[in-house]
């Protein structure tokens, strides 16, 4: 049983609608420190919307959200502790792969906590041969790797991933899942990710939450 004080994410009775279309209805979700949670569901179920709410980018119509002890705040302090990887970013045309990673580290300095240095990241995400390339010349899979590498280039307490497995080959999906389970989560950080890949969620050691008809239930199988 997780104590309330240990909860990094605490969502109760969340309701979100787009106009007259209700996407999430009475969704409750909790994630503790060091836990990996996979939010699953069919296309359009509301997984990305839930992540947007956790990141503070979308205001819910009802219910309460507490992230790291308070409501999502969209402040410098909040973004020091929370990392969101959603849509593919726009790259700086004149910066290399390595420089993008260094840029992320620079924006969050001084930072004390678990993260990987640029060389480790480039190696771990199999970007060694493209370290000096500009991201515009990378394949879609390599760009997704770079996005994820940047997310792990600075310490954080909560990592929000929207379908991180997109464009990744099966082998690297397992590597990424292992990294989250064996390195990131044990550092005391929490992962909440929306995914369609059951195997990815299992390898990451994730507790699975199924969103169906606007409601969230714990997946048992």
């Amino acid at each position: 049983m997780v104590g309330v004080s240990e909860l990094v994410v605490d969502v109760n009775g969340l309701r979100v609608s787009y106009g007259s279309v209700v996407v999430l209805e009475d969704v409750s979700l909790a994630a503790a420190r060091g836990e990996v949670v996979a939010v699953m569901g069919v296309n359009g179920a509301g997984k990305s919307t839930l992540l947007s709410c956790l990141a503070g980018l979308r205001r819910p119509n009802g219910g309460s959200i507490r992230v790291l002890g308070g409501p999502p705040r969209d402040t410098a302090d909040y973004w020091r502790r929370v990392v969101l990887v959603a849509d593919l970013p726009t790259w700086y045309p004149g910066l290399t792969v390595r420089e993008h990673i260094e840029l992320v580290r620079m924006t969050s300095a001084p930072a004390d906590g678990w993260c990987l240095d640029p060389d480790e990241l480039i190696d771990a995400f199999a970007l060694t041969s493209r370290a000096d390339a500009v991201p515009l010349t990378l394949s879609s899979g390599q760009r997704q790797r770079l996005s994820l590498a940047c997310a792990l280039a600075r310490p954080s307490d909560l990592l929000l991933l929207d379908e991180p497995e997109q464009s990744l080959d099966a082998g690297f999906r397992k590597q990424l899942a292992s990294l989250l389970r064996e390195s990131y989560a044990p550092s005391g950080a929490t992962v909440v990710m929306a995914t369609h890949d059951l195997e990815f969620a299992e390898v990451a050691g994730a507790r699975r939450i199924l969103i169906e008809d606007g409601s969230a239930t714990e997946a048992t199988t």
């Binding site: 503070g56 969209d74 726009t90 969050s108 990987l116 310490p155 064996e182 044990p186």
Partner: protein, 568 residues
Amino acid sequence: MTTGTTTMVASVPPRVATVRKFTRRQQQGRWLDWYAAGFGVLVACIYLGNFLVQPLRRLSSGARDLPVGQGETGLALVLAVGAGLLLLAQSLGPLTLSPADASWLLMSPLDRRGLLRRSLGALTAAAALAGALLGVLALAMAGPYITALTSARLGEWLLLAGVVGGALAIAAVDVLVLLQPHPHRTRTPARALLRVIALAALLVAVAGEHWMSLPRAAARALGPFSLAALQAATVVAACAAVAAALAAWARLRSFPADVLWADSAHAGRVRLAAAFLNVQLLGWIAEDNHWRRRVLVSRHWPERMPWPGRMPVAPASPAFILAWSDWRRLGRRPGTLLVLAASAVGPALVAGALTGTARGVANAVVLLFGGIAAASQGCAALRRDTNDVTLRRLLGAAPRPALAARAVLPALLAAGWLAVALGVLASTGVVSASGASGVPAVLLWVALGLASGPGLTASAMRLARTAPIDAAVLGGVDTGAGTMPTWLISRIFSVVLGLIGVFPLVAGVLSAFGGLHGAHARGGLVPHGLDGGTIVVQAVLSAALLSFYLLIASPPGSASASGQASRG
């Protein structure tokens, strides 16, 4: 996979300036970029100078014998331009970052105000400059009617007018910045208000051409305007600007990331498209934005009927059903038709606005581009699926009949727009016609407009079928004076095609304006130029050109139609 490490990344807090220095380190502009930018600014200054010379000269000469309508029309147009610029600013944010900055720096521990400070500064400077210019222009329009304005203190008047214009523009833009974090509640009302102001100003400008009571009232109101009143207005405008700027500055600290993210991405796409004159992409973006905000009710397509092959573009044939998407799209956007109808007064405004000098060439250019723009409103589906033949194949429509069916709506739109525009020109007496046929001049010009519509359709269709520009894969043609990109050549060719298609109309307009100048010289308006023969020639030319285009254009989805730069 590696194991994690605990790292102290750095010992000093991040500063926006340091981060920006890093991101720009690799993006130092080459001397050629600076040269190109400087040259662009120089050319803009020269054009702007030329534009302002005449009104300013009129002010400095102390001329008082100007037509009474010019002041009111000019002021209304300045107001319309101001509202239009604010609409443009609002549609681009107005406060944005570069898309890359928004992706990497926005949702980071960096200070939000530090991040946005420069954007707000640039926006304020641009608003101040544009506002000051409009302020000076407004004074140039109103000046001849202000009794107290003398050339002795002209500098002071101009300075204060510029300050008032600049300050009001800063205040207006900063108010838009303050509204920006609440897009769902404020964007639509603000946009509607600005549109109403612009439209009302245009209507007042046109109305003043004929209902003289309006400009007389305006001239009477301007007469007693004093320097002291302008000084008071300056103080009020400056206070408003300072208050709005301080409020916007205070808002920067907590400016919401989600709004900035979306607006920055949108503005980045628009800027990129505008930089390459990529009209297709701009239209695409505008259309996406329009439909994304709407909830539609699905309707059935027209019933498909087994029409014989010899009637490939008849109503309810597969080709016509395919073309129906544009009709439905237009039916769902009645505002487009309203805007088109309102914009048809543009040529009449150009004819006598601002300087009071009738300009035949300017008028012909406005008619040409206005007609192409009107036809383009019926080419949205053509623009969308130039390289995607899925729907056409599903419907079983042959490529060339499909293209022909899609020419109907743009031809009607262009014909309608030109007919209204020329009708307004004729009814306001700007252009006239030969009285020999006994037919009223207005009807002749309207008929010429109707006959010209198909002549511009090929141009609009060709522009629509040009794929979005990928500057990375396009080359250029060496012209001797430099390389001209192929996409630009393609677009110029499309416009030339339109010019050929409406050549009788253009010649008729130029001829009518020649008559107008001559008439002014003789103290009266003489009938000139247009007769029934011109209309027949125009109709034949329009039909021939459009038919020729439909015959030679490469069918949608064919290998030659999927190139980047142009379609035949």
